[in-house]
Symmetry: C2
Amino acid sequence: MEVAVKKLLKSYHLRSTPVRKQVLDLFIQTSHALGKANIEAELDEIDRITLYRTLRTFEQKGIIHQAIDGSGKTKYALCSHECSEHEHHDHHAHFYCTRCEKTVCMNSITVPKIDIPDDFQIASAQLILSGTCKNCQR
Amino acid sequence: MEVAVKKLLKSYHLRSTPVRKQVLDLFIQTSHALGKANIEAELDEIDRITLYRTLRTFEQKGIIHQAIDGSGKTKYALCSHECSEHEHHDHHAHFYCTRCEKTVCMNSITVPKIDIPDDFQIASAQLILSGTCKNCQR
DNA sequence: CTTGATTATGCAACAATGTTGCAGCAAAGA
DNA sequence: TCTTTGCTGCAACATTGTTGCATAATCAAG
Ligand SMILES: [Mn+2]
Ligand SMILES: [Mn+2]
Ligand SMILES: [Zn+2]
Ligand SMILES: [Zn+2]
């Protein structure tokens, strides 16, 4: 609630503003990744530009990470506690449901190590799984 | 050249138009994936909307496939010959160079089989590798 | 509690990608 | 050459995303 979110923001050396509290609270409350449109649907009357800046700030601080799902829309989800301002450690797969368009972190599935030609220097790897989630299977 | 591209289009039951010939030829000539901006840079005076429709058509016919690279830009590359109007078979990784922003198909690297909870029904999987390509390593 | 430095907000303005509808034009087969 | 069918290019729109700047809010210090 209120106080916890405030403390959390403070621990990241971020000021507690209405937008940041609302957005962070929403991420904590939600089990799937959230993009601009999703957040706006939940949090009415919130300024687009401020939202974009809030997301960028949260990402830089290691609070949230991008959940790339091939949908073309940038979504974010809460980081695990190992992430920091200096480095993200979200080496898990993401599942994208093509029916409901929700994206979830599959924390149990780590991206496999890949051997590639020396011509390429890999800095990071991402695994996207798509299909239908439980709710969308009839 | 000219004639070959024309034949190729015909084999997919597509009319040979200037835009289609130019775009298909460019894909054949290029070793990395191409997005809207890339194509426009190479092919001047080509209409945006027609380009988008051309790309969509080529994708539907199994001529090109999306090369998702996490850059937020939709790029395409030529399909292997197994792809058709009915199904794409491009189960390889894509490498994205964060320096030059070029994306290439890594045909030799197939996306590993993943075991996931039954809650999810996987239809496809994609692997994105990012880092620096040969040209961009100093 | 008040004050002041610093930071965040919200608006305007812009840029890029992508989609649809529609009239006119071109390709390909007859 | 003609006709049908499919393709093009324009307008118009929607969505995502960025930057600059004046104003407002936060928070730590006094
Ligand atoms: Mn994640
Ligand atoms: Mn490919
Ligand atoms: Zn679903
Ligand atoms: Zn490169």
